[in-house]
């Protein structure tokens, strides 16, 4: 016998309220702002999709979006292979395992604004160790406060320094879960080291790598604190990534409508690209 009643709703209700309070209501507020114009005094005018159109057509947004994609692309293409290589060269057993793991975890434990500040001081010409070494010892002109290229190199190296460990730790977890029999079978089958990587290690790391790529994509696409502390988006606008630009519009210029529209577009892009990544990377598993 199955009793049917509506009691189940009482179990779901608290969660529903909590999610509404911390997610649905704030998002709807943003949606609300994105279709209106205000001049203060709590007076709002209906604006329709104008803000969205204006943002999407603006050179400023397109430039920031371009920079954002370039940044994310560069750090992914460096961090993922580098992380795999480091994970492959880490010891699988013995006393050095915990040492390596702790060393790897250290950069991730440092608060993001501290990372920005560290790298700022480290790279400043004259007073920073790296800045001094590059300019005065090697004689290479390096000033991330003046030169956009130097600024880009610095934010990318900083992100690689901060986050490659995540890829390493995830890949390493995938690697150590491979039973010895696989390596032994490959040895007997006469497989070269490259084939061992291609047909055993890489497929076994696939799940964790998917997670690593997704996490690194989302985090780097939404990055704010570190480049803000390091370069503040400069020199000029050269390192103004999407989130830095968004904060400038929302809090600097207090253009709530365009800022709201921009955050929704931003959110949609992150969601869409993550979905694309995930679908492409897991499509083989279905069949």
């Amino acid at each position: 016998m199955k009793t049917e009643n509506q009691r189940a709703w009482f179990f779901v209700l608290p969660v529903l309220l909590l999610v509404a309070f911390n997610a649905l209501v704030p998002i709807m507020t943003v949606v609300n702002y994105s279709v209106q114009e205000t001049f203060g005094n709590n007076v709002f005018f209906w604006q329709g999709l104008d803000w969205f159109e204006q943002i999407l057509r603006s050179d400023r947004f397109q430039a920031a979006l371009g920079r954002q994609f370039l940044f994310t692309f560069l750090i992914l293409i460096i961090e993922i292979p580098l992380g795999i290589i480091i994970a492959l060269s880490m010891p699988k057993k013995g006393m050095w395992v915990p040492v390596c793991l702790v060393l790897m975890a250290l950069p991730m434990l440092i608060p993001w604004n501290v990372v920005g500040a560290m790298w700022n001081i480290f790279t400043l010409p004259k007073i920073g160790l790296l800045g001094y070494f590059m300019n005065d010892v090697l004689g290479i002109s390096y000033d991330m406060t003046q030169n956009p290229f130097a600024a880009w190199v610095t934010i990318i190296v900083m992100d690689v320094w901060h986050w490659t460990s995540l890829v390493v730790l995830l890949s390493y977890a995938g690697l150590v879960s491979i039973p010895d029999a696989y390596y032994q079978a490959a040895k007997i089958d006469g497989a070269s080291p490259w084939k061992v990587f291609r047909y055993i290690q890489l497929p076994k790391m696939k799940t964790v790598l998917t997670i690593a790529i997704l996490l690194r994509f989302m985090d780097s696409f939404n990055i704010y604190t570190e480049p803000f502390v390091l370069t503040g988006g400069g020199p000029g606008n050269s390192t103004t990534l999407l989130s830095i630009d968004l904060v400038k519009i929302a809090l600097g210029q207090f253009d709530l409508g365009p800022a709201a529209a921009m955050s929704l577009i931003y959110f949609a892009i992150t969601l869409l690209v993550s979905w694309l990544f995930y679908t492409l990377m897991t499509k083989d598993d279905a069949k």
Binding site: P179, A181, Y182, Q184, A185, K187, I188, D189, G190, A191, S192, K195, Y199, I200, P203, K204, D284, K287
Partner: protein
């Protein structure tokens, strides 16, 4: 195909072994004949996997040599020994199709494509996996995966020996039997030397022509399944093989026979050697309920289907008997008779009676 000789093999996992206890393998001298079907049988931790890995080259022994047809291969890596090994858990290359999996060992050795195609279809036919050749190997069931790992071993026609390391562990019971007979059939077709490692006596006895029984890093007996059952050389073999295993009972020598719980017991033949701890060994199959003999009290009767196992106490010693037909009640007073031709004396664990006449066996 080759004859494999293991000579004075010892192995320790410790860098500086001091006593015999430090050795996972103690003094192994063995010849595996070309084309034979062997089983390596023993409880977990007896060193059988160590021995297997030494033959395959995954481990280098601390001492001793391994010869394939009189060629010393002790220091050769696995891929140069032309061996194949099937592991406990199926090892397949997930991203490849079944066909690519089977072709993999050949491709790595640069065999030409026409030859590869011919070998793969031949092996697939033998294993009856033709209809799945183009499926991704990761979608197969465990027993088919295990078939593919076997196939990767058999696909090379230059293999010296195919080794199986408890290959049926993860297979469902009803498929175990099928795979086992498949293996036996394969052995008859490809005529390769096969070594099958297991702790399951049924698997060992059904697969092998010769069974090597190991205990604590030593070979205790090598023989046909019948020999192991009929005349165990060591109480361990008697106890380990059989269901239930041989009764091993404390006894003293007594005028050409033995004395057990104060009664004389006749043995198969003359006693050899002297001293040491003596025991008699008799399989439950050769213990019967009789009108006269050793008085005993029935402690437990377990009906296992075809027959029943009766456990009776002779004095303070339990003795098991396999009984067909009418069963005694628990607590009943009975008499046990040991068939003399299958009652033997063991001295310090080792057989120490002579075979009964020439008519026996």
């Amino acid at each position: 195909m080759a004859k494999i000789t293991l000579s004075n093999l010892r192995h320790s996992y410790l860098p500086n072994p001091s006593g015999p206890a430090d050795y996972a393998l103690k003094e192994i001298d063995l010849d595996w004949q070309d084309g034979g079907a062997y089983a390596l049988l023993g409880p977990s931790g007896c060193g059988k996997s160590t021995l297997l890995n030494i033959i395959s080259g995954l481990l280098v022994p601390s001492e001793g040599r391994i010869l394939f047809d009189d060629r010393d291969v002790t220091d050769l890596p696995p891929d140069q020994r032309n061996i194949a090994q099937v592991f406990q858990f199926p090892v397949i290359y997930d991203t490849m199709t079944v066909r690519e999996n089977l072709a993999f060992p050949l491709r790595n050795r640069g065999v030409d494509e026409a030859r590869i195609a011919a070998r793969v279809s031949e092996i697939a036919a033998m294993l009856e996996v033709e209809e799945m050749l183009d499926t991704r190997a990761s979608h197969l069931s465990p027993d088919n995966k295990q078939k593919i790992s076997m196939g990767r071993g058999l696909v090379r026609d230059d293999v010296n020996v195919v080794m199986f390391d408890e290959p049926l562990t993860v297979i469902d019971p009803h498929l175990k039997w099928k795979l086992r007979s498949k293996l036996k059939e394969l052995h008859q077709r490809v005529k390769a030397t096969m070594i099958y490692v297991t702790h399951d006596q049924t698997e060992a006895l059904t697969f092998a022509d010769q069974v090597v029984v190991m205990q604590e890093g030593e070979v205790v007996q090598i023989g046909t399944p019948v020999e192991l059952f009929e005349r165990p050389q060591h109480t361990f073999v008697g106890h380990f093989i059989g269901s239930p295993g041989m009764n091993v009972l404390p006894a003293e020598e007594h005028g050409g026979g033995a004395r057990f719980e104060g009664r004389h017991v006749a043995l198969e033949g003359a006693v050899v050697g002297q001293g040491g701890t003596t025991q008699i060994g008799v399989r439950p199959e050769f213990v019967s309920l009789a009108d006269a003999g050793l008085p005993a009290r029935v402690r437990k009767v377990s009906d296992v289907g075809r027959h029943a196992v009766v456990e009776a106490m002779v004095g303070d010693t339990p003795v098991k008997a396999i009984v067909e037909g009418e069963l005694p009640e628990q607590g009943a007073e009975v008499h046990l008779a040991f068939r003399p031709s299958h009652t033997r004396l063991y001295r310090d664990g080792w057989l120490s009676t002579e075979k009964e006449g020439s008519a026996a066996q």
